[in-house]
Amino acid sequence: MTGEAVPLPLAASRQGRSKRARGIWSGFSRLGVTLFTASLAMIFLLPLGYMVLTSIKDNSQITALNAPLWPASPQTFTAADGQVFPLYQVPLETGAVQNLALKTPGRIVSVFIDPATGQEIQWKGNWRGLSPVWSGIEPKLDNFTTVLNTLNFPLLLKNTLIVAILGTIGAVVSAVVVAYGFARFRIPGRNGLFLLMIMTIMLPFQVLLIPQYIGFRAIGWTGTWLPLIVPHFFANAYNVFLLRQYFLTLPRELDQAAQVDGASPLQILWSVIVPQSWPAIVAVALFHFFFSWNDFFAPLVYLSGKPELATMTVGLQAFSATYAASGTGYLTQAAALMAIVVPVAIFFVAQRAFMRGVVISGVEK
């Protein structure tokens, strides 16, 4: 006790110095850790950078060797007689590199024109090994117009929004109602039912899909949006779980007060529970919206042969199957970029509510 309480003066001063040193040290490690994380994040998001930059390039640049990272065009030279020749970076015998216009390509000897003087120059070597002269930043924004027209983007957007919004309404309303039932009512066998619901999360979808497909086909729903919307009006286990956890944290006194005032359970849900639960309800709405935007298997099988009803992912996949194979990868990247703009924008606006929802439904089991 005494040893600690009365430190020697020397020890005190050493402690003071080491505290300062520690402050500097922690500043450095703070910077180091943050820079390390930032570079990891950059590597992690590099494919996005690839998508964005490729989407505003054209084919001549993508297939060229040593092309610049930014979107650019190969430069040309227009001769006095109006003829247009591509410009190349040509290494001369003197060791200098000059930008020359290629007039007559040859495997052994090519003829170039010096754009400054207009003189012809014989050059020995294979012109195919030369790099073109690139312009400054020239984004090819018509890629997006091309995609807009060939992909019929407005139609896909409209279809996807209809399916996603109607499904979201169903998912939210049904999950709120069911979660309220699980959170506030004593029902014989409630815990068993709840466990059963959690277990359905583990079912691989394939085992349900074939009979569902046969059933929907039997009632004439294939080739319509109904199979993509109606099942979501019957409460998804994840969403119910999330909302129930949230409802359980709400104080019961308000419910009881409303009950004493003669409110029915439905009125209590609407005027007491729901107003307190917006963060969780928003999370569920976002879950379903993103799920719907991403969903692929169901629209693929239910909307097959109905391109006028196709959703974004199905349209994008069909576009990619046609264009990626024909070497127009930049158009596919442009299409992918257009398909992700809406979910990514919504995510950035609402990321807090969304990520909190992920955590609640994942952790509290």
Binding site: S29, R30, V33, T34, F36, A38, A41, F44, L45, L46, L48, Y50, T54, I62, V178, G181, R186, I187, P188, L193, M197, T200, I201, M202, L203, P204, Q206, V207, L208, I210, P211, Q212, I214, G215, P231, F233, F234, A235, P265, F290, N294, F297, L300, V301, T313, L316, Q317, S320, A324, Q333, A335, A336, A339, I340, M355, V358, V359, G362, V363, K365
Partner: protein
């Protein structure tokens, strides 16, 4: 009605409370009814129907030709398994993928979560958002992005590797590299697991770390003796979710090869690609149901193994779960 009365007597003693309890139960069941109806119509009946269908030759184009074929579908699957045809090949691809992607994804998600949990890190919220973001990108789009990014000549990864003098594989054109390419694509989606790990890390009481410090333990001891046991429940959950995700793997493989052959050279011929082909290209829905049931059985066995072993390594702090 009589049955309900019987129950009341066993559950609640006084008659007045009994009618209240009955009203509460009725209201509760009313609120549960959307899920209960959905459970029957969209889950229970389909499961039973697909089991029944798996013993038939049901073809959706020719429903009249429906015949009970006993174990024929399962025998065909077994034959294809042992001769390494479609079923054997696709199970092999799916298992190989699971063995690569589940441990790697979980390890990286945990590593990222620990990094983002560092006290020293500035801008935590921003980094969390950035690392999570790819989860929101529809799988068709992210597959397209990675197809381009990993392209052996024009993709950025190849160009970076070439620039530093390393050979670059042509991922999705090379049967040996296509599956690892999909593993990379999968790593893009670890944001969910990362968030769940992060929440697990945040719930570890700091006193426990202090205790290890007092005992003279270093970072490894802290991780091994405090972090790992304390987050074992979320680790368990993430492994389970990871296995289920592999069992449902389809969109990425289908985007790579819409013919459903698992290009290149069958190296991405996932189980569900085969199921889709049988069910929707050849309309063999009886056989596809048998395939679905085998996948269900595999998932159930994997989950049971996980639950059985969990007693040994999953630690519940509250002890009440």
């Amino acid at each position: 009605m009589v049955i309900v009365d019987d129950r009341e007597k066993t559950y609640v003693p006084t008659p007045r409370k009994g009618s209240l309890a009955r009203r509460e139960t009725l209201w509760g069941l009313l609120f549960l009814s959307p899920w209960l109806i959905g459970l029957v119509v969209f889950t229970a009946l389909p499961i039973l129907a697909s089991l029944a269908l798996s013993f038939t030759n049901f073809n959706i184009i020719d429903p009249g030709g429906l015949r009970f074929v006993g174990l024929d579908n399962y025998i065909r699957m077994w034959t294809e398994l042992v001769t390494n045809q479609a079923v054997g090949q696709s199970l092999g691809v799916t298992f190989r993928f699971a063995l690569m992607s589940v441990p790697l994804g979980i390890g990286l998600a945990l590593g990222l979560a620990i990094l983002l949990h560092q006290k020293l890190l500035a801008g935590k919220a921003l980094f969390r958002t950035l690392f999570f973001m790819p989860v929101l990108i529809p799988l068709v789009a992210s597959t397209i992005v990675w197809q381009g990014f990993l392209n052996g000549s024009t993709g950025w990864l190849a160009q970076i590797l070439h620039a530093i003098g390393l050979p670059a594989p042509d991922w999705f054109q090379d049967p040996a590299w296509a599956l690892p390419g999909l593993v990379l694509l999968g790593i893009w989606g670890i944001g969910n697991m990362m968030l769940i790990f992060l929440a697990g890390l945040q719930s570890v009481p700091t006193e426990l770390y202090e205790a290890v410090k007092v005992d003279g333990g270093g970072p490894w001891a802290r991780f091994r003796n405090v972090t790992l046991p304390m987050i074992s429940p979320v680790l368990f959950y993430n492994i389970l979710i990871g296995i289920i995700a592999v069992a449902q793997y389809f969109t990425q493989a289908y985007t790579l090869d819409p013919q459903g052959n698992g290009r290149p050279g069958g190296s991405t011929f996932f189980f569900n690609l085969n199921l889709y082909k049988e069910g929707w290209t050849y309309n063999n829905m009886g056989y596809a149901s048998a395939l679905a049931w085998v996948m269900l059985a595999i998932v159930v066995v994997a989950a049971l193994v996980l639950f059985r072993t969990s007693a040994r390594w999953v630690f519940y702090a509250g002890g009440d779960k």
